[in-house]
Assembly symmetry: C2
Homo-oligomer: 156 residues x 2
DNA sequence: TATTGTTATACTCTATAACTATA
DNA sequence: TATAGTTATAGAGTATAACAATA
């Protein structure tokens, strides 16, 4: 005998009736999970994770970046950044460079391979976002970015 | 001697120039983290976590809900739901009720205390969202919900 | 054979605390 | 004293695989 059909017990409720559906936080999380899952699928098993890609972007775009700078910009602790920088260094995408003026510090310098990997990854990310946001027109996409930045400004 | 001043090494780059700033995924994650941190602060150290609150909402609003139903609706695995239901049962907010028609199943039935806890938590969550979204007018908030739901529809 | 609830296990992400070397 | 980078450790949150009971 086959198992019970889906939803045999639970009464079907219109999603729009659910209190959760009118909460921004709940919808934000669901959308975030969907985007992240597709991101990982697009980047592949050995691709850069979201946080490593973000870190590489800062390293490529910001000259003379230190780890403490980067941690602050990413909004994480210095300790958590070590593994991220280790991975990027292990892939040959950046070097830890000694800074004579302050020997506590090591500046993060992108390699040529790191710049190329960043550009290749960015192309994949753009394709991923275009596909995930295909039901939004250009105006809606700008509006979404604008509203998300407003939330960021409130909390940062 | 005090340490180096902030940003002594890294050149300041306008955030709007960064490639990350035009990515929906990056802004979605940053906004999600901000909302989640405030949520946890509002709910308190012993408050319901986001996933437990979401689960309680489904239990209160959906009669005769089973664990498999709930896992599917939350978008997580059945195995991951056990700890969530254990916590809600431990707090006295729901009961696992045997279902005579199918003895594999235990329906999740909210207690009076569970309904009260849900309503109290929902009030806190609404206050939290009103504060975090204070810079958005009613139209912007509706638009944000609309756009997030569009992303959910694309990926579910 | 398939499904429900469950346990065991592992992996990712992140935080806190403490250490060292420098300032 | 304070900061930069690091290590050790722990806690969420989630996934996969396997199991017993039941369909």
């Amino acid at each position: 005998m086959t198992g019970m059909p889906r939803k045999a017990l639970a009464t079907e409720a219109e999603p729009s009736e659910m209190a959760l559906e009118s909460l921004v936080g709940y919808n934000l999380k669901r959308a975030y999970v969907i985007l992240q899952n597709d991101y990982r699928a697009v980047m592949g098993e050995h691709g850069l994770s979201p946080r490593v890609f973000s870190a590489l972007t800062f390293v490529v775009e910001t000259p003379n970046l230190t780890q403490s700078d980067l941690a602050r910009r990413l909004g994480i602790e210095r300790s958590g950044l070590v593994a991220i920088v280790d991975e990027l260094e292990g892939r040959g995408y950046l070097r830890r460079v000694a800074v004579p003026q302050d020997r506590r510090v090591q500046a993060l310098s992108p390699t040529d391979a790191g710049v190329q990997a960043y550009e290749a990854a960015l192309t994949l990310v753009h394709a991923h976002e275009d596909r995930m946001l295909q039901t939004l027109d250009a105006g809606e996409r700008d509006q979404l970015l604008h509203l998300l930045k407003k939330i960021r400004e409130t909390g940062e």
